[in-house]
Amino acid sequence: MPREPAGPGPIADPRLRILALVVLAFGFSALTDPRALALMVVLTVALAWRFGLPPAVLARRLRWPGVVVCGLVILLPLLSGETVLVRLGPLSVRAEGLEAALGIALRFLCIVAAAAALLAPVPLPRLVAALRALGLPALMADMALLMLRHIEELRQGLSRMRVAMRLRGAPTGFWSGQFRGIGWALASLLLRSHAQSERIYHAMILRGHGAAEAAPERFRASPGDWSALAVLVAAGTGLLVLEHML
């Protein structure tokens, strides 16, 4: 089957995208020195530009974890450290805490941006296949693919069931005993899925599942992919070395 490239950017092979991301993300997470952090930001901006990361994609990924990070970034300067910079009434902003908070915010932003730039364009099933090729156990890869396949269907099933509850007057609000209703809807969905999974297993056997060791999907990395990976790995390790030398 013809395969479209994994997305914009110099790496087409999703396996190499994952490897590059692992090196960069773990490398970034070890940086604390302000100069290393500055270089990290420069590298991330270059990466986002080169891989064509749309700002909307990044913004969507920042929403969830952003809450936790924002909480820390606001609290840390007030709670942590001795050197008081500014007093705001009963609160005082301290240097060590501020530094730690800035580090956290920058590392968080850069890792999320790098992950979004490298992985967001790769379709999820392809990502799972790439992980399988990198050594993810077959059992987990199969689970992941089957699960992906059913998420949308189940989401619609659950929302239809909740509409059905509301149409028959299920009260909303905290103290309405609706937990039992939610639990029952969830249990119904589980029962249904259990029966369905049996039929799916039959469908798989009927089309030869396990009859032959199906060949895992092949990936081909071009020389260009490898050189781009080498550049990114060198940049990531370079930052780590810099952090330790400074």
């Binding site: 239809r160 069931m161 059905a164 149409l167 028959r168 007057g169 299920a170 809807a185 119904s188 249904r192």
Partner: protein, 268 residues
């Protein structure tokens, strides 16, 4: 006391879609009189289910509104007068046993104690599954599940029943039984179905929807018997309206399969 020109439900210039997308239906305009039974037909993805959901007030209207007895329906309010029986029975049944599932709605319209028990028993009796009261929902056959759904909404004494594909997956015996049951109910009904024979048996009036609006609304025999209209919207005339002489099985309209190169895309 039922006057045809007294409308129970009035839909006025309604436009409705899913989750902020473009409207699936627009400019929908019709009235339902008390006790009236209307068939709703149209191809896969025409918006039959969408229309029924909109009438219950679950989907926000992009334009227009729905009036019940002249009062405007509130979004996401609870309107026990309008009841929906879902296309898939298992989406509607979520309690462990039949009796509990029927009691769920009854409790929410304010019944309790002995009155609750009486109402549940009466509803089960009405659809003829009194003997299944204590059976777990998941051990029922398809036909029984659909009857349980019906009992679960009848117990709230609705004035309008919205039925989505009521005969789907039923065998002919269960289908016939369902038809007899529906024929015996006094409520107004809107029945969405691909089963045109069922529509023909139950509904004096039929609405055909396609291309985001109502394309025909009139007496059942006139709408369903109009070969040109039906063919234009991917339907076939029901067998019982064609003049068959038992000499085989010829279909009156070749239908859109005659157009070459068109895949079976409908719902998109």
């Amino acid at each position: 006391m039922t006057f045809r020109n007294v409308s129970l439900l009035a839909v006025e210039g309604l436009a409705v879609g899913h989750g902020g997308g473009p409207p699936v239906l627009s400019g929908i305009e019709f009235r339902i009189a008390p006790g009236e039974r209307i068939g709703l037909v149209g191809p896969n993805g025409a918006g039959k289910t969408t229309l029924l959901l909109a009438l219950t007030g679950v989907l926000p209207a992009a334009a227009g509104g729905i009036r019940l007895d002249g009062r405007l329906l509130a979004l996401n309010g609870f309107t026990p007068e309008i009841a929906l029986v879902f296309q898939q029975a298992h989406d509607q049944l979520f309690c462990p046993t039949v009796a509990e599932d029927v009691a769920f709605g009854a409790r929410n319209v304010g019944l309790g104690g002995a009155a609750l028990d009486r109402a549940v028993a009466a509803a089960l009796q009405a659809v003829g599954i009194a003997s299944l009261a204590d059976r777990p929902i998941h051990h029922l056959s398809g036909g029984e599940q659909r009857l349980a759904c019906l009992a679960g909404v009848l117990v709230m004494s609705p004035r309008i029943l919205l039925l989505d594909e009521p005969s789907g997956a039923l065998d002919l015996r269960n289908r016939r039984r369902l038809i007899e049951l529906l024929r015996g109910l006094a409520q107004a009904m809107l029945i969405a179905s691909h089963d045109l024979e069922l529509v023909l048996e139950l509904c004096p009036r039929v609405m055909l929807i396609d291309d985001g609006g109502i394309v025909a609304d009139g007496p059942a025999a006139a709408v369903l018997g109009d070969a040109a209209l039906m063919a234009a919207h991917g339907q076939e005339i029901p067998h019982s309206l064609t003049r068959h002489v038992g000499e085989g099985h010829r279909h009156p309209v070749a239908g859109p399969t005659a157009r070459p190169g068109k895949a079976a895309v409908a719902g998109a």
